[in-house]
């Protein structure tokens, strides 16, 4: 016997559920018509390049939001990690270690340190029953303060050139005469056109995001994340160790903030306390535009990235048109309200199982 899955189709509902995709399309058409030079590989890559922070922090935020919590600390934890990584790498190169190994070791240590704030927030939320808003708000303040202390004598300079080469490099290059090359920019005379394809950090960010999307969609860990957000009592009664799961979720979130901080360090070859401060609200906005609910239990990684792309294109397009940044904030605010209102209109998708003998 075979079971056929029939999705109950209703054209209006199907379109309505995909409003974000349609909005993205409209946005691209609009900026394509009104922003000069919008349709180009360079601009497209710029959107992804500057969007990595929001994609990564948005994904971090998504996991926490699905459990019904919120993590306000990701922005400043990103800044904290960017500073920690520069400090460690600087200290290692000063001690005479090679550039490559210093960079690698610095990154690994920063990632490990990046787990600690999440462990603390997670324990506060899970064990001490501190509301997530308060626990992570406290962590925001602490990470901001510690960052400023660390950077008192100025940010570390003289980071290995390799950092810049990774952070601002591309996977593929092409130029007439030289042809294709990978990772190494061809040595050509000034003014000769070099086509640059796929920024390295976009690859790094999407590799991380891909793993997390898999984790959320396909594994028991992901399933329990949704279950906790859906009905925490039922999760407990089903034998799920909810406390432990929540600690892991907040650790995952701060780990992703650490990856963002490292990417910032690679891009700008320095650390900054408020590196990700302005990205916090954008990342929450990305999650909500992506259809997640702040009351938990809903949302996907792919739709969060869609939300992030909508914001990134808005920002890039408006910049190309010469519109001031604060107009972007107004737009994001309007989209956010619309997102919540539209999502309320469309109920869950339903199915009918048809049996065939």
């Amino acid at each position: 016997m075979k079971t056929n899955l029939l999705r109950n189709k209703n054209l209006l509902l199907e379109i309505g559920r995909r409003w974000a995709l349609i909005f993205l399309f409209a946005e691209i058409v609009f900026f394509g018509l009104s922003a000069k030079g919008f349709f180009s590989i360079r601009v497209f890559q710029m959107v992804l390049f500057f969007g990595t922070t929001v994609f990564l922090l948005g994904t971090a935020e998504l996991f926490v939001i699905i459990t019904g919590g919120i993590d306000l600390s990701v922005g400043y934890l990103m800044g904290f990690s960017s500073i920690v990584s520069t400090k460690i790498i600087f200290a290692l190169t000063e001690s005479g270690m090679g550039d490559g190994i210093s960079l690698l070791l610095g990154i690994v240590l920063t990632l490990l340190i990046g787990l600690i704030p999440g462990l603390v927030s997670g324990l506060m939320v899970a064990k001490l029953k501190v509301p997530p808003f308060i626990a992570t708000f406290a962590m925001l303040g602490i990470s901001h303060g510690v960052s400023e202390l660390l950077i008192k004598e100025g940010a570390a300079k003289n980071l290995p050139h390799l950092a810049n080469a990774i952070g601002n490099g591309y996977v593929f290059y092409w130029s007439s005469g030289v042809g294709f090359s990978m990772f190494n920019r061809p040595q050509v005379a000034r003014g000769v056109f070099v086509l640059e394809l796929i920024p390295n950090i976009v690859v790094i960010a999407f590799a991380a995001i891909g793993i997390l999307a898999f984790l959320l969609k396909r594994t028991v860990f992901g399933q329990h994340t949704y279950a906790i957000g859906g009905n925490v009592d039922s999760a407990v009664r089903s034998g799920i160790n909810v406390d432990r799961h929540l600690v892991k979720i907040y650790m995952l979130s701060s780990f992703l903030a650490a990856i963002s901080g490292i990417i910032y360090m690679l891009m700008y070859v320095t650390g900054k306390a408020d590196a990700g401060a302005s990205s916090l609200l954008d990342s929450i906005a990305a999650v909500v535009i992506g259809g997640a609910s702040l009351s938990g239990g809903k949302g996907t990684v792919w739709r969060t990235i869609l939300g992030g792309v909508i914001i990134a294109i808005l920002e890039t397009g408006m910049r190309l048109m010469g519109i001031p940044t604060f107009d972007k904030y107004i737009m994001v605010g309007i989209i956010l309200i619309s997102a919540v209102l539209i999502d309320q209109l469309f109920p869950d998708r339903t199915y009918t199982d048809k049996e065939e003998s």
């Binding site: 396909r218 028991v220 009905n231 109920p347």
Partner: protein, 251 residues
């Protein structure tokens, strides 16, 4: 020797401070039997049930599961002994689909690429379909989120989860209280079907109609004591109401 009783209590007593909530109650349920537990608010029926399901510990008396004397320390302990309570809030995750709820906390996984453990949706779907079919429960699709189901269907999902995971004794607390008439009927049909599968069922209900529709035996509690234990066929609702309010006294 195996006892004919699934769950049995002898002289079970629970005190809260000076108040005797349950006073030396003998109670039992057999496989394939539906026992209705009735009584006014505060009569002690919830406390009795909570001792059987591991929420409360008795002060005196003993508990037997399948003829063996045991202690039920926690609700998890009760579950592992096959005693499951279906609560009014049903303990389902509304944002997950039917088969995910049936397997919640006990998900089946398979290896993907020989490396990662991923959810085995096909297995969970087919197994869930099997148990629903066995219990003659009809739900449009097991892929639908529980949120889109009616109250009766949710109840059915919660019950099939228990049965799938080998519950032997189901305790149902006001199973029809929040349901419409058609759905009440569905749930009662389901109870009859469970009975045919040899499950012992304890129903707490205020709906006299439900009780007489499905129960084999009716136990009434009043002020912490068991005041009657009658075959359904040998009594009527007037007599039972009499026991509940106290105008009939222990014979």
């Amino acid at each position: 020797m195996k006892s004919e009783y699934l769950v049995e209590t002898r002289g079970l007593t629970k005190r809260f401070g000076g108040l005797v909530a349950v006073n030396s109650v003998d109670f039992y349920v057999k496989p394939g039997e539906v026992v209705a537990l009735l009584g006014d608010n505060g009569a002690g029926k919830s406390t009795l049930i909570k001792m059987i399901s591991g929420v409360h510990q008795p002060d005196e008396g003993s508990l037997f599961v399948m003829g063996e004397e045991t202690k039920i320390a926690t609700p998890m302990d009760a579950l592992s002994k096959g005693i499951e309570t279906i609560y009014q809030d049903l303990a389902l995750a509304e944002n997950l689909n039917v088969y995910s709820n049936i397997f919640l906390g006990r998900e089946k996984t398979k290896k993907a690429l020989g490396l990662f453990k991923v959810l085995d949706h096909k297995y969970m779907f087919e197994e869930s379909k099997g148990i629903l079919k066995k219990l003659d429960i009809k739900i449009p699709s097991l892929r639908n989120n529980v949120r889109s189901l009616s109250g009766g269907q949710r109840q059915a999902v919660a019950i099939s989860r228990s049965i799938y995971w080998n519950a032997k004794c189901l305790i149902m607390d006001e199973p029809t209280a929040a349901l419409g008439v058609a759905q009440q009927h569905q749930v009662l049909e389901l109870v009859k079907s469970l009975k045919d599968h040899g499950i012992g069922i304890i129903i707490i209900s205020h709906q006299m109609h439900d009780v007489f529709a499905v129960a084999d035996r009716i136990v009434v509690m009043r002020r912490g004591e068991k005041v009657c234990d009658l075959e359904r066929s040998k009594t009527n609702s007037d007599e039972i109401v009499g026991y509940i309010v106290g105008s009939e006294t222990v014979a």
